[in-house]
Structure formats: C-alpha cells, structure tokens
C-alpha cells in the first residue's frame, strides 16, 4: 500500500545506483543548507554561513555537471535519440488508480541542461553574495532562502510528474517571495514581494485548472505517460480530450492555454509581468538568480516540457507565440525609457523571455521544424549566462554607488574596470553581436520565426534592434556619459570574491554560443544540425549595430539629445515611461473591483445580512417572549379564565371535533 520506500527504478537501469544517488543529492544538498542555516544559522554559523552554503552548492553543481556529462555523453543516447529517463520515482499521494502525485526525477536534455544552468548560476550568486551581502544582520537567513530556492528550482526542472512540477513551482514562488521581501523593513519591498506572489499565484490558478483538465482526460499526472497518451492521435484519451469542448474550444486547447497562463505568470509575460520590475526590490544577486536566470524562465521550461502536447494544438501554440512576441516588443519599448538600471534589466529579461516563448510557439515537433524549440532552449541557456552577468555587474555598480538611478551614475569605467569589461561583454551578447553567445541563439530564434510567420519575424527583428539600443543606453549611461560622479569616494570594486563570478560568467557569455546546442537539445531528442546562414544574419546584426550606435550617439557624452528625442515623441514616450499604465490598470482592478466591489460588499453582507438574520432570530425570540410573559401577569383570576377557556376549548375539541 505504502510505496514510500519502494523506490522504483524505472527507465534505463544502467545509469547505476551511483548516479541515482548523486541525482537525489543534487537538490537535497541545497535543502540541507536551507534547513541547517534556517534552524541553527543564527546561533552557530553567523558569517561563515555563506561559505557553508557555497560549499554545499558547489558539491551540488559538481554533481549536476557530472550528471550532465553522464547523460549527454555516456548513457542518455539510445539509437541516436536522447531518452527520457526516470531513474527514481515513488508515489507520494495517490488520488485514484492511475492518478497520483509521484515524486521522481526525469532526465531528458532540457532538464539536464536546466540542472547545469541552475546550479551553476546559483553557485555564482552564492559566491558573489559572500562579498555583496557581507555584514548583513540576517546573513544566514539570506543563504538559507537561497538554498530553499535552489532546491525548489532543481526539483522543478527534474520533475517527472506534472503535479510535482506544480509543487516546486509553488515553492520557487514562495522562495522568491521571501527573497524579494528580504529587506522586510522597506515598505516597497514588502509591497513588491506580495505583488509578486499574488500575481504568480493568480496565474497558478490557471496552471492548476489546466492540470486538473489534463489529469482528467489523460488519466495520469506522469509526464511521460501523459505526453504519450495525448500525442498519439489514435488513443482514446486523445480522442476524448479533443472532442470535449467548451465554448467552441477543445478541452486540450483549454488545458494548454491554462497551463500556459501559469507559465506566463511565472515568466512575467504580458499582461502578468507587472510583478517583475517591482521584484527588483530584492537584493541584486537574488535578482540575478531568480528574476533573470532561473525562476522566470520556468514558464518557458514548462511549455518546453509539455511541448509535444502543445504541438498537438495549433491554437495553443498560436497563443504562446502571440503572447511571446507582444511581451518582447512591449518590454523592449518600456526598457528604453526607464532610469532605474535594475528595472531596465528586468524589462529586458521580460523581453528576452518573450523571445523564447514565441520561439517555442513557432516551433514544430520534430526535425527541421523543431528549430524553434532548440533555439528557445539555447536562448534560455545563453540568456541565463549573460543576464546573470548583467545583474551581477549592476549589483557591483550599485554596491559602489549606493543607488539604482542612472542619473547618479556616469564615467564609472575608470572606477570599475573589471565590471566595465564584463558588462560590455554581456551587452554585446544580448545585442546579438557576433561572436558572443546571444548572437547564435537569437539568430536561431529569428530563423525559426522567419520560416514560420513573417509578422512575428519582423516584429522580432525590430525588437532585437531595440534591445541593443536600450542595453547600450544603459551601458553608456553607467560607464561613460558625465565624467564626474556624485559619489566621490572610491572604495574599490568589491574584491576578488565579487569579481570572480563576473569573470567566469563573462567567459560563458562570450563563448557559450559555440556549443553545438542542437546536437543535444531538440524537440524530439534527435540531433538537430544547426545550419548557419550568413546572408540571413546580416539584417539582425546590422540592426543591432545600428541600435548600439544610436545609443552611443545619444548617451556617450552628456548632451540634450535624449531629451529632445523624448520630447519629440512626447505622448508615446510618456506612455512607455509609465509602462503603458498596466500597473494602474491592475491597481484599478484590485482596489476598485476586487476590494471595493467584492470584498467590501461580502464583509458588509456578512456583518449585516447574515449576522443580522441570526441576531434577528434572537431578537424575534426575545420579542415573542416579551409578549408571552404578559400572560404571566400574576393575576390569579386571569389565569383562571385562561384555564377555564382552555378546558372548555379542549372539551369541545375532544367531544365534537375529534370524537
């Protein structure tokens, strides 16, 4: 009955127990860090907590690299196809026969890739934070939360069961909440963490209902079985889910769109993106880890995980690509106008995730048409590297200048040489300048879009130009522009510990593009030949360079060109500056509609109507008894009359009526 300890070693057993236990340890080591630091960190570890956590994570990162090596080069491939391996699985909660939450580990190219990304970036952030967060009062707490996050994220990417994914999905949400609210005494941080949690929670509602629909029709929650059942067009499950329809749309599409809503919330896609810029209230390394490299791409990962099912519904893929492209363009436009450097990066993240999403949306299931899938995963990979680098660089700047605002910065290249160089590399990478990492992945995305949908391609192209513009606007504003800086004292760059992650990541951002990604990650597991079309790359690269030069022209030296241009596009600039008023819309919906139109009436109704009814019953009883006690007048003769009348009445009743 209880299968907790009966660990089922499914799939290819040849992975061996060794690798199995190593796999389990990958998420458990950060969890151990969380528990130990959370329970005893304050008392026993104090400032050495960071080193402790970092060591644990380093072990975890090593194990995941080991796993990746083992998977990609030794065991993973069978007959030229990368297999989906479930080495460990046990039943956690059985709902009904077939439908159960199983906790397990699913290894396939994307999960292994994510394992590496998560542990690697997390390790970088751990190292970086050793210096960045030094001296914080709640230093051990910070590291314990990082551990919790890393654990949850690893659990998420290794999930073998859609409900397991949901579980860890919620856990990453809460660790993000805890980390955004790390500076709990700042009201803005508190507001931001609540906002982040509630909006993603709202999206999770969609995810949950999507899961319910899928589980109902699929009869299982297991990824492999589910995908198998819902992708073979002649299975009964597939037939019922396609034929069942609600409002003219098939249950399959509904389920996938709902699941996608969950992904969109976590990945901050339009219109559920409003929490991401505010989430920058958290410590900067946290933003690098959670809100740039790992957690926010969970939505992309989710769609990729269910991609075989998504590919069965054109409408769902259409929704994915439309939302993706809108987010990409929308965020890029806003990013051009923001002055808080972390917010610029946040919008840039949103824009890049939009790229990944529409790339998935335009992809097909196998072979050449699966380019979008590979491209999205590739971009996810490279983006994690250069966006983490950007954030950590921004953190280094903020650490130096104690401000997030562009206007307080300028000419920092002399004070922060290493940061400057690494930041530049990251900017070039994200702008798609060859031969940096972003170039390769973005090329593939654009190519996939070009083959599939011209409109999306053109918008994507324009967005990619905008990307390089706003990134270099940022770069020039920080490191060039005005030469004097408001913050006079120069206290160095923050030492080797902070610089090490920057350097490591910049190497990655520069070189990761040369990985033959298609060989390892593709929609159907077969190696995908990445073809390089030189003539195709001309347009994006030219546009990217144009963006860079425009930014240079406007921001390299202090001048009034930005203001003039902003002035000439007055209304549009304002619109973008105010983030297209989406926040205000949300505020309106929550404050006016949710609170005032539903919450308040509900509370009023309860206080007055329901409670009034109860009190009314009580008062009515009192009223009746007040009247009834009039009978009890103490006047003997009155009693006697009642008595007599009653007797006569009864006599009449018994004699004449009831005989």
């Amino acid at each position: 009955m209880n299968e907790f300890l009966q660990i089922q070693l499914l799939g290819i057993f040849s992975l061996g127990m060794n690798l199995g236990w190593a796999l389990v340890m990958i998420p458990l080591l950060p969890l151990l860090g969380f528990l130990l630091l959370g329970l005893f960190g304050k008392k026993f570890l104090k400032q050495s907590a960071g080193i402790f956590a970092t060591l644990l994570l380093a072990a975890s990162a090593f194990l995941s690299l080991h796993t990746a090596y083992g998977y990609f080069f030794k065991y993973g491939k069978s007959e030229g196809i990368y297999q989906k391996i479930v080495p460990i699985q046990f039943t956690w909660l059985q709902f009904s026969p077939g439908v159960s939450i199983d906790l397990g580990i699913l290894l396939d190219p994307i999960s292994v890739m994510m394992l590496v990304v998560v542990t690697f970036i997390s390790l970088m952030v751990h190292v970086y934070s050793l210096a960045y967060m030094k001296g914080e009062e709640r230093f051990p707490t910070y590291y314990s939360f990082l551990g919790l996050f890393t654990f949850s994220m690893l659990g998420l990417v290794m999930s073998s069961n859609i409900f397991q994914l949901y579980i860890f999905w919620e856990l990453v949400g809460v660790s993000s909440f805890l980390l955004i609210g790390y500076y709990y005494d700042r009201p803005s941080a508190v507001a931001a963490c609540k906002k982040a949690f509630i909006i993603t929670r709202f999206a999770d509602l969609g995810f949950l209902i999507g899961i319910l629909i899928l589980s109902f029709y699929g009869g299982t929650l297991d990824f492999n079985t589910l995908i198998e059942k819902l992708t073979s067009t002649d299975s009964t499950e597939f037939k019922t889910i396609v034929s069942a329809s609600f409002m003219g749309i098939s249950a399959l599409t509904w389920a996938l769109v709902l699941v996608f809503i969950g992904g969109a919330g976590k990945s901050a896609l339009f219109p559920l993106h409003v929490w991401l810029p505010d989430a920058m209230e958290g410590p900067t390394p946290v933003s690098a880890l959670i809100h740039a490299a790992t957690m926010v791409v969970a939505g992309v990962f989710l769609v990729a995980r269910l991609f075989p099912v998504f590919s069965m519904s054109e409408v769902a893929l259409m929704v994915v690509s439309i939302i993706g492209i809108i987010s990409a363009l929308f965020a890029a436009l806003i990013a051009c106008t923001q002055t808080d450097i972390k917010r610029v990066l946040a919008y840039s993240t949103m824009s890049q995730i939009g790229f990944m999403m529409f790339s998935l949306g335009v992809s097909g299931q196998g072979g050449e048409s699966g380019l979008g899938f590979t491209a999205a995963m590739f971009h996810l990979f490279t983006h994690a590297l250069f966006k983490a680098l950007l954030f950590l660089g921004a953190g280094s700047v903020i650490h130096f200048i104690h401000s997030n605002e562009m206007k307080d910065m300028g000419g920092l290249r002399k004070h922060l040489p290493i940061t400057h160089i690494t930041f530049l590399i990251a900017c070039l990478a994200i702008s798609g300048v060859p031969p940096f990492a972003g170039f390769f992945s973005k090329e593939e995305i654009l190519l996939a879009a070009y083959h599939h949908n011209a409109t999306i391609y053109w918008i994507a192209l324009a967005t990619s130009g905008l990307t390089s513009f706003y990134m270099f606007r940022l770069y020039f504003s920080i490191f060039w522009n005005k030469e004097h800086i408001a913050h006079g004292e120069a206290h160095g760059e923050g030492g080797f510990v902070m610089m090490l992650p920057l350097i490591v990541l910049s190497v990655g951002a520069a070189a990761a593009g040369f990985i033959p990604f298609g060989e390892y990650v593709s929609a159907d597991g077969k190696a995908l030949e990445s073809v390089f079309h030189l003539q195709f790359s001309i347009a994006p690269v030219a546009l990217g360079l144009a963006g860079i030069f425009t930014a240079m022209w406007m921001y390299k030296k202090q001048n009034n060109r930005p203001d003039t241009i902003a002035h000439s596009m007055n209304s549009f600039y304002k619109l973008a500056y105010h983030k297209f008023y989406v926040d205000e819309l949300y505020l309106f919906v929550t404050k006016k509609i949710l609170f005032n139109l539903i919450g308040k009436p509900a509370a009023w109704f309860d206080k007055n109507v329901v409670n009034g009814l109860v009190n009314g019953t009580g008062n009515f009883t009192l009223f009746i008894s007040e009247k009834a006690k009039g009978f009890q007048s103490g006047k003997v003769q009155q009693y006697a009359i009642y008595f007599l009348a009653g007797m006569i009445g009864l006599a009449v009743l018994f004699i004449y009526i009831w005989k």
Binding site: I641, L644, A645, M647, I648, A651, V652, I655
Partner: protein
C-alpha cells in the same frame, strides 16, 4: 305534584338564588350570610335524597365551621360597612361568557347522556353501614383514606398555625 317535589323545588330555589346573591352582592357580610343559606339549602337537598348522615355533616362542618371561620376572617380583615370593590366590566362579561358556555356545554352533555341505574341490591346509607365501611379494613373498607385525611387535617392545622404566626420583624 307531590310534597316531595315541592320541597325539592323550594330547596333548589333557595340554594341557587342565595348562591347567586352570594357571588354578586357587594356587601361582604351579606355574601357570607347568603353562602350560609345556600349551604343550608344543599344540606336540605341531602335530606331530601335521604342521606341524613351527609346532611348532618354538611351542616356541622360547613354551616357550623367554615362559614363561621369565614365570618371571623371578614371581621379580621374588613372595615365595617365598606363595599366590595367593583370588578371591571370586561372581566365580568368574559367570566359570564365563560361560565355560561361551560354551563351550557356541561348541561348538554348531561342531557344527552342516559344514566342507567344498577340493578344490584342497594345498600342503605344507614349509620351502621357507613360506620362499618368507613372504618373497615377489609375489601371496600375506607380506613386508609380515612387516616390519610386525618393526617391531612393535622398537617393543615399545623400549617395554619405556622402561616398565621406573626413573623418576627427582624426576619422580614
């Protein structure tokens, strides 16, 4: 019309009329006297039915005992010549209605019902029979109720004394 009949009607008239007067007169002493007459009329009825013993008891206890008791208590609680307070009209009317309805209903029932005399040999209510049965302990003997009533009377007597004792001012 025999003499017995005439006597019956006279006695009934005496009983009912003085009864009515007893409950309606506004002078309390007269009410007591009318009650006395009514009770005497009832005693007469007992005589008329040839239940001499019970008639005698009626006269001794009611006429001689209770009425006197009542008159004493009137003397104790009433100023002479004071009229009884009048009851409000509504109450009188209600009471009249209730009494009349009850009367009509009861009478109707009595008239509709036919009482059949038993055919067994009658026992005459002579002193001998009454005495034997009242104090008899065999079947149909009434000695137990007799004793119970004696104790009741004793208790009532003690109760009267206790209730009527002037309570000490300190305990009030």
């Amino acid at each position: 019309m025999s003499g017995s009949t005439i006597i019956f009607y006279l006695l009934s008239i005496l009983t009912l009329v003085s009864g009515i007067l007893s409950v309606t007169t506004r002078q309390i002493f007269r009410a007591a006297i009318f009650l006395l007459f009514s009770l005497i009329g009832i005693a007469g009825l007992y005589f008329w039915m040839q239940y001499e013993f019970i008639a005698a008891v009626q006269i001794v206890v009611y006429v001689g005992g209770i009425t006197v008791l009542i008159i004493f208590s009137i003397f104790l609680t009433q100023q002479a010549g004071e009229l009884l307070p009048q009851q409000n009209k509504k109450r009188v009317l209600l009471a009249l209605l209730a009494a009349f309805c009850g009367f009509a209903l009861t009478l109707l029932q009595i008239i509709q019902h036919s009482f059949n005399k038993t055919s067994e040999t009658p026992i005459l209510p002579t002193m001998e029979n009454i005495g034997n049965q009242m104090l008899g302990i065999e079947e149909n003997g009434f000695s137990l109720p007799f004793e119970v009533v004696s104790i009741l009377l004793l208790a009532a007597m003690i109760g009267c004394i206790v209730i009527a004792l002037r309570s000490k001012p300190t305990t009030v």
